[in-house]
Amino acid sequence: MSELVTLLVQATAILGGLGLAVGVMLVVASKKFKVETNPLVDEIVEVLPGANCGACGYAGCADFAERVVNEGAPINGCPVGGFDVAKEIGGILGQEVVEGEEQYPFVRCNGGLNCVDRFDYVGFEDCKAVMMLSDGEKGCNYGCMGRGTCVRACPFGALSIGEDRLPHVNKNLCTSCGLCIASCPNDILVFAKETEKVHVLCMSHDKGKAVKESCTVGCIGCKICEKSCPEEAIKVTNFLAEIDQEKCTACGLCVEKCPQNSISIR
């Protein structure tokens, strides 16, 4: 009986001692090797949407928060959260936030049904897949294929291919993440600010004759807009008109003058 008691006492003593020693070690280690985390980072992570979509250009929400605190990344860098989140981050960091201009993807092609099809495509519905065959079914090599690669790329369902076979952006759903812009194989989609009113709805660098053959609304590089613009904001380079949005006053003269109706004002 007494043997058993000694054994019990011994075991308790050894285990208890071990526990105490390891406990002390842990306390020392946690004091000594403490990782300094900035409480601000955690606070910012709290207010971010938490989708980890990567649209900001960093490896997720936590990474973005860290960069904002430590490396001075722009506090309005989260396109999904938008102005509200930027304001909250600004509150945490004590910075003033000015509401930036909203920008949405903009389709720089008005081809669609106005553009001639060279052949009848039957196959996998994807712009890149169509373009693997003979540079696409359209008569124009620069235009929108209208097969919806951008629609499939959009995680928020903000894009749709309309009756005119061109993508349309639903601004209520769009978060300006830019995934559609990255997915477009012909670079038709670009970000356009709401204040930029006048746009050339064509990307074709083909010569006038070739454009006329394939599309009824394509830019033929006639330079009428360039001559008519009072602000000298339009320049035709390589058979395509480009508008300098800084100079443009949205007077609408070029829209009236364009013989192909390829410039639009909104």
Binding site: F119, V122, G123, D126, A129, L133, S134, D135
Partner: protein, 449 residues
């Protein structure tokens, strides 16, 4: 086999300045120039390129971008022919030195039908070729201008020797198709270096290496079943020589050069008659049951070929290079190029426009796949953009034969999806800097480029 010669003078010939994979040639003529048959009209200083010659005598009416049977537009020389057979003086050059032969092949414009310039196959940079194969398994166009079957056999063996000389290879083989009696009869009992050769079938591990030993000869003639597809070279090399070609590599990495009958014949003609590669034999099929072989000049438009085939009705679809893996043409104003082997014509009512529906998991595609892939799974993954997973189940091994898409009862465009995935994988790894990609490199894994 009967070969019809295309006699009628075409209205215009379109000669693309790129009929190979590689650099586009610079035009050496200008609008208004008069050119002769066989005159060099395009050349490039790049190694990965091949010269282009005029196939007719006439006047250059334009140098502009024109449709190419591959689908894209390519800078082309458009010539209005005149009724004359005036040609540049051809002189046989039988004593070309082995080291000059590659340059000679490039200047003669000889190109493999799968696109590579022949000299780059025989003398790839930084690689050593020890075996040359002539693939005669899909020999619809063998007829050429051979007078007798014996003539064909002798010319082929002579061409093989030339190819071996150009590559500096010791061994060479001609691969025939098992059910191609005509060619087998032609080669049976032929004498090479005073040794009688037998046409030997490739069975199991008895590959060409075995027959080199057994027949104690550096040149053997073997036969095997037809392999069909667009990217068969690696698979073909494995079947014939037993050498495995790693993913992302080509047969030259295994020391094997695969040439076609067409380039072999072109080389024979270039050496013995001095004529560059400006005419070829293509087959035309469809509409009626007959298949016709036509001897045409390169640059003849498909329209002229179809006219001489004798079909005047409405055309639904024209397909270049075979109905399964070929490219459908959107216009008949495309030229026959060095890579065109066959033109298929379909009537409007023959054109199938099946819309694909959901996969029913019947696994017929898995059954027919000659390289034992799982096409149904690859198609789903490609559709969803999961290209890395496609790689994990070896999408690169696909030989693009099109069997899977042909048997699919749901009419899913499996081959197109697989090609799409392959293309996307190539694009994804294209821009990756060397250092970062060292352990994820897509290219050849066996040292070569």
């Amino acid at each position: 086999m009967e070969i019809k010669k295309l006699e009628t003078l075409p209205e215009k010939v379109i000669i693309p300045l790129r009929q190979h994979r590689g650099a586009v040639c610079e035009p050496l003529v200008k609008k208004g120039d008069r050119v002769l048959i066989g005159q060099k009209i395009g050349g490039s200083a790049e190694y990965q390129s091949s010269a282009v010659h005029s196939s007719v005598c006439g006047e250059v009416i334009a140098i502009e971008e024109a449709a190419h049977p591959d689908g894209n537009k390519v800078m082309s020389v458009i010539i209005q022919p005149e009724d004359s057979n005036e040609s540049v003086a051809f002189s046989a050059c039988k004593d070309v030195k082995p080291d000059k032969l590659a340059e000679f092949i490039k200047e003669s414009g000889i190109v493999e039908h799968y696109g590579m310039p022949t000299h780059t196959v025989l003398r790839p940079k930084g690689k050593k070729i020890d075996t040359v194969l002539i693939n005669a398994t899909s020999s619809e166009w063998i007829g050429g201008t051979f007078k007798t079957p014996d003539d064909y056999a002798f010319q082929m063996i002579d061409a093989l020797k030339l190819l071996m000389k150009a590559a500096g290879a010791k061994k060479g083989a001609i691969v025939l198709r098992t059910d191609d009696k005509e060619s087998i009869d032609a080669f049976e009992g032929i004498e090479v270096d005073k040794k009688k050769l037998k046409v030997a079938p490739l069975i199991g591990s008895r590959n060409v290496g075995y027959y080199f030993n057994e027949q104690n000869s550096d040149i053997v003639i073997v036969s095997q079943e037809r392999i069909f597809g667009k990217k068969i070279l690696n698979f073909f090399t494995y079947r014939v020589t037993g050498r495995k070609v790693k993913i992302g590599c080509d047969p030259t990495d295994a020391g094997v050069a695969v040439c076609g009958i067409r380039s072999a014949k072109a080389l024979y003609d270039a050496v013995h008659e001095g004529t560059p590669f400006y005419d070829t034999v293509i087959s035309v099929e469809g509409v009626s049951n007959k298949m016709e072989y036509l001897f045409v000049r390169i640059g003849t438009t498909f329209k002229d070929v179809i006219d001489s085939y004798g079909y005047t009705g409405e055309i639904g679809k024209i397909i270049a290079n075979g109905v399964r893996t070929g490219v459908a043409q959107y216009t008949d104003q495309v030229p026959v190029t060095k890579g065109t082997t066959r033109i298929s014509i379909q009537k409007p009512e023959e054109v199938i426009r099946g819309e694909s529906i959901e996969c029913i998991h019947c696994a017929r595609c898995v059954d027919v796949c000659p390289v034992e892939l799982i096409p149904s799974r690859l198609a789903v993954m490609a559709d969803q953009g999961r290209f890395d997973e496609c790689r994990q189940i070896h999408v690169e091994n696909c030989i693009e034969c099109g069997d899977c898409a042909a048997v699919c009862p749901s009419k899913i465009h499996i081959l197109q999806l697989i090609r799409y995935a392959k293309d996307a994988i190539e694009m994804a790894y294209e821009d990756m800097p060397e250092k970062e990609s060292s352990n994820l490199k897509l290219g050849c894994g066996c040292g070569g480029e």
